[in-house]
Structures are given as C-alpha cells and as structure tokens.
Amino acid sequence: MSRSFSTILPSLVRRDRASFAAKLLAPPIALIVTIALNLGLYVAMGRDPMGVIYAMLIEPFVSWASFSEVLLKTGPLLLIAQGLAIGFRAKVFNIGAEGQFILGAIFASAIPIWMPQATGQWMWPAMLLLGTLGGALWASLTAFWRVRLNANEILVSLMLSFVAAQLLNYLLLGPWKDPGGFNFPQSVMFQYDAMVPILFEGTRVNVSLILAAGLSIAAWIFMQKSFAGYKLQVGGLAPRAASYAGFKESWAIWLSLIIGGAAAGLAGAAEVAGPLGQLQRSISTGYGYAAIIVAYLGGLNPIGIVISAIIIAALYIGGDNAMVSANLPIAAVRVFQGSLLLIYLIAVAFVRYRIVWRPTPARSAS
C-alpha cells in the first residue's frame, strides 16, 4: 500500500546534516506565507487589504511613539518566552505561564494594596521580587504534581491557569476591590513609588525591558555555556542516556518549571507595576499563550526568541491599530499567531528533511 502512495506523493527524506540555510530562511518564509494567507482571510471578510497591511505591519514601526509601544509589549513576551524555552528544550511542557503571570501580578499587588501609604524606593523592587516568587510558587505546584504524582504537566499547568483566573476574579470582586471604583472589578491605583522606572522619557517603556534583555543573555549563557544547561538539554534529547549518566529527570522538571514560573511571575509583576498601575481583570492579553508561540518561533534559541518576541509584540500593536482603522476584530491577532506557528512548523521541516519527488524504493517488508 505504501508503495503505491509513494509514487503519487513526494516524500520527505531525512538529510544527513541539518540544513543551515533552511534554518535561517524558515522563519522569514513562514512569516511571508502567513501574511499572505491572513490577508486572503481579511479580503474574504470584506476588509481593504492595503489598509490592514499598513495598520498591522507598517504602522507599528513608523513612529517612535508606536514603536515604543512595541517595545513595551516585547518585555513580558520576551521574559515569559525565555523562561518557557528552557523547559521546552528539556521536554518539560509548561503551558501554564498565563496562570503564573497572573499569580506574579497578584503577589506584586499585595504590597501597594496592603500598604497604600507606603513610600520609598524599595517598593517596586520588592514587588518585582514578590511577583517572581508568586509565579515560581504557582509553577512549583505543577512540578510537584509531575515529579511526585507523575501527572502530565501540560494539563496540570493549564488547569492551574484557569484556577488563577478565578482567583484574580475573586480578589477583584471581593477583598481587593477598589471601594471608590464605581464597582469596577479592579484594585485601587498604586502610589508613585510602586511604579517601575520609565526608561525613555515620554514613553511607557520601563525597566522590565532591561530585565527581559538580561534574562535573554542569562538564558543564552545558561543553555550554551553552563553544565546545568547542558544536562537539561541532554535530558530532553535523550532521557535514557541522561539517566544512565546520572542526570535526574526530577531535577530537570523542578528547574524548568521554577525558571519558567519565576520569569512569568516577574512579567506579571512588571505589568501591574508598569503600564497598568493597578490590578485589573484584563492584566494579560494572553501573554502566557502568545509566549509559547514566541518560544517556538524563535527556534527555542535565546537569540531567535528576541527577534520573534519583537515580531509578536508588533503584531499586538498592529492588531490594535487594525481594530481601530480597518475595523478588524482583535481576534485576528490570535488567528495570525496560531497560523504563523503552524506554518513555521512546516517550514522548519525542511531543516531536517528534503523533498524527493521520485518514488523512493520501498523497503521490503519480508
């Protein structure tokens, strides 16, 4: 049966060496194909394609005001994605960064909400620290479930995200609701000292971008140069070989999840102490899920992730623009993100495989 199939369809044959050219070309080609497909969708929806292209892809880059907003969005995406990618390379699939982000935001908000009169330069660093701790603690629940109870970390971390969202709802509708907030589900506005410093005057870009850049460098050193990073990667590539060599799987799971959770928690803290200035229901516009796309799109490589974070951040800003100017629902951003990753996964297949149009001699079954 397979013989007859191989005569009609081309087959993929594993390359002897991974193609470096394909590796470099895969992301830009995937981006172009995705843009073309999504434009087709917008035209089908009756939108002006040139207007959408301008609003989504060009406008974010034409002025410093809009590009600074791109940088603002890059911060949390980069932080979360670098943290997740370390785990993904070790084959620990923490997809609950959304929940860890929310817990980071909640933990950080505890300081200004419980101490509304506090002042001093200690406040925002303490909030970031507490947020990091909150994210790490939330992720450690998943690690415990995986290591001790053998439960699948994909499902547990995701379920915990749903729980985190309800916890946020509970706080904002109950004990942490701003009494003078006209019954809106949000906390009080934080005091000045609870806010992270702005990097560039006149923009909202703040310290979290430096933290994200720092984490990117740290992630690069950790994965490429350190023995711990090497152990993690070997564990992901060849778990059995790793266990023979004495690398413990449980260690890799704890480390991956704690790093991922801490980075997501820090991002959550920086969001409430940065552009938002209060705890709200909509603290995240799906950063935790978008960061998964950023991580894979960057090839799980710290440098690649920096580039993909900027692209996905620009897409958020572009999506906002298109919503206003081209009357495009914001859900179009999610469609773009999802299709971009799917098409990228096809494109990277050509790093490891080449297409053969002639029928391959089928291996004899005897």
Partner: protein, 303 residues
C-alpha cells in the same frame, strides 16, 4: 427538586460535550497522535453550529457543518504533524490558539445572541421514577452519544479496525511491516477526532447553553484530553469520567440553588480543581497508566 435530583437530571447533558470530545481524542491517541488542539476545534464547531442554527438551518445541518469544519481544521493539523513530522505538542497548541481565534473572528457579530434548544425525549415509565427519573429524559444528541460510545467501545474490543488502530499506535514499525499505511490511518483517526470535537462544540453552543460567547468552551476541550488519561485510554472509564465531570460542573449551580454561601469563583474553579486532583490520583499508579497507555503516543513515525 433536591440537589441530587437536579444533578442526575442534568448530568448527561453536561457530560455530553466532554464525552464526545474525549472519545474523538481517544481514537486519535490510540492511533498514536496527541492532538492538544481540542479546545480550539470545539470552539470552531461551536461557532459554526451556532451560526447555522441562528440562521434557521436547524440542528442536524448545524452538527454536520460543525463536524465538517472541525474535521477540516484537524486535517490541517494532521498534514503538518504526519506529513511534515512536526512536533505534535507545538502544533496542537498552535491549532488550539488558531481555532479559538477563528471562532472569535467568525462569532464577533453573534456575541451574546441565543437560539432555541432541542426538546427532551423521555423514556415512558422509566422517566417517571422519583429521583432518578431525570436520567431518562434527554435530548436526542445525548441518546445518540450513548450509542456512539457503545459503538466505539465495541470497535476497539471486537473489530479488526480497532485492532489495526491500536497496532498503529502501539508499534507503528511492526504495523508498517505487515503492510498497513501508518500515516493514512493516523490521518483518518485525527480527522475523526476533529469531527467529534466539532460535534462536542456544537452541542455546547446550540443545545447545552444555546448562546454564543467568545471563550464559552472554557477549558472543556482540555478537560476532555485529561479525561482520556483519567480513563486510562478505555472507553468505559472515559464515559464514567465524563459523567463525573458533568456532575461536577452542575454542582456549582446545585450549591447556589440550595442557598449555600460559597463564592461563585470557587465554584467556577471546581472542574479544574477536580481535574488536577483526579489527574494526580490516577497518575500516581504508573503501572496503571502503562497498562493501557499508547506506547508511541506523540512520536512521529519514520520508516
């Protein structure tokens, strides 16, 4: 109506979206493919079905269209993971995000609208029994779902098709050597899974809560994937698990109706918390998971 009566009467309807999606995922996983995009496939099915019913197409056409739409989307996933040997976890997550995005895009102008649901068909006699009678008064889709469940159970237990599917998931190299086309069989299994997820979404948006709202699937696709693990890849246990989750998702309403002072956010957490706890309890016995688990799950097949 007592809380027990209330839960028994509504349990099957609440269980049906979980059951349909989990059965579809079971077939895909049995063939060796882990599809994490169920949540997105359900969302797409839900919005398609809602639009069809809203424009007067009726429930039958709605289910057909939803099944077809989600099947097509899952074929895209199958093409990427099976044709190009892409990472199934990454592709499944991307499919989920894409599906949720598409559903929100198409459903934008139907936000918060409602449609009419289907009447219940009661079994005479049995449905008059006190307390448990509610179990025997269900809409047509619930009855069909029960038949489908038995059909899938029988397929795996007794038929050659079931045997081939299991062989393909268990030991693809051996199945290939005997002459079975692994990729085509897996493709068909994933497509079937997508269709079932579409039906599950259609049930959620046109019968169980006949309205459209972005995010209305609310993690049910993920719970369905968890149900396959709970059920240790066995149809009968997946059915029981779906009933449990049907009951759990009604407990919130039952508790509020009986005047218990529990916060609604805690009640909304209940299905997720129960998933986490049950997942821990089931997984702790590694032998049990290994016994019925699928050996090559998530691994690409290379000749």
């Amino acid at each position: 109506m007592s809380a027990v009566e209330f839960i028994l009467a509504g349990m099957m309807a609440a269980a049906t979206p979980f059951l349909l999606a989990a059965l579809g995922e079971l077939v895909a996983e049995r063939a060796g493919v882990l599809n994490l995009g169920v949540e997105g496939l359900m969302a797409v099915g839900a919005v398609i079905a809602f639009i069809v019913v809203y424009h007067g197409g009726g429930h039958l056409l709605a289910f057909l269209a939803a099944g077809l739409g989600s099947a097509l989307l899952s074929m895209f996933f199958a093409g990427i993971t099976l044709g190009f040997n892409a990472n199934q976890v990454a592709a499944g997550l991307a499919l989920g995000i894409l599906g949720q995005g598409l559903s929100a895009l198409f459903g934008k102008s139907y936000e918060s609208l409602t449609v009419t649901t289907l009447p219940k068909i009661a079994i005479p006699g049995l449905s008059q029994i006190p307390v448990v009678g509610g179990l025997f008064s269900q809409d047509i889709v619930v009855w069909i779902s029960l038949v489908v469940t038995i059909g899938i159970w029988a397929t795996f237990a007794y038929s050659k098709v079931g045997l081939i599917l299991r062989a393909v998931g268990e030991n693809p190299k051996a199945a290939h050597a005997i002459g079975y086309p692994i990729v085509s069989i897996r493709f068909a299994a994933v497509t079937f899974g997508g269709m079932m997820a579409g039906f599950a979404g259609a049930y959620a948006s046109t019968i169980y809560t006949p309205l459209w709202a972005d995010g209305m699937i609310a993690g049910r696709g993920w719970i369905a994937i968890a149900l396959v693990v709970f059920g240790t890849w066995l149809t009968s246990r997946i059915f029981l698990g779906a009933c449990l989750f049907g009951a759990v998702s009604l407990m919130g309403l039952a508790a509020q109706a009986s005047g218990l002072a529990v916060s609604s956010q805690l009640l909304a957490c209940l299905p997720y918390l129960v998933t986490i706890i049950v997942l821990g309890i089931i997984s702790v016995d590694r032998r049990l998971l290994k016994l019925n688990g699928v050996a090559s799950l998530g691994e690409p097949f290379e000749r």
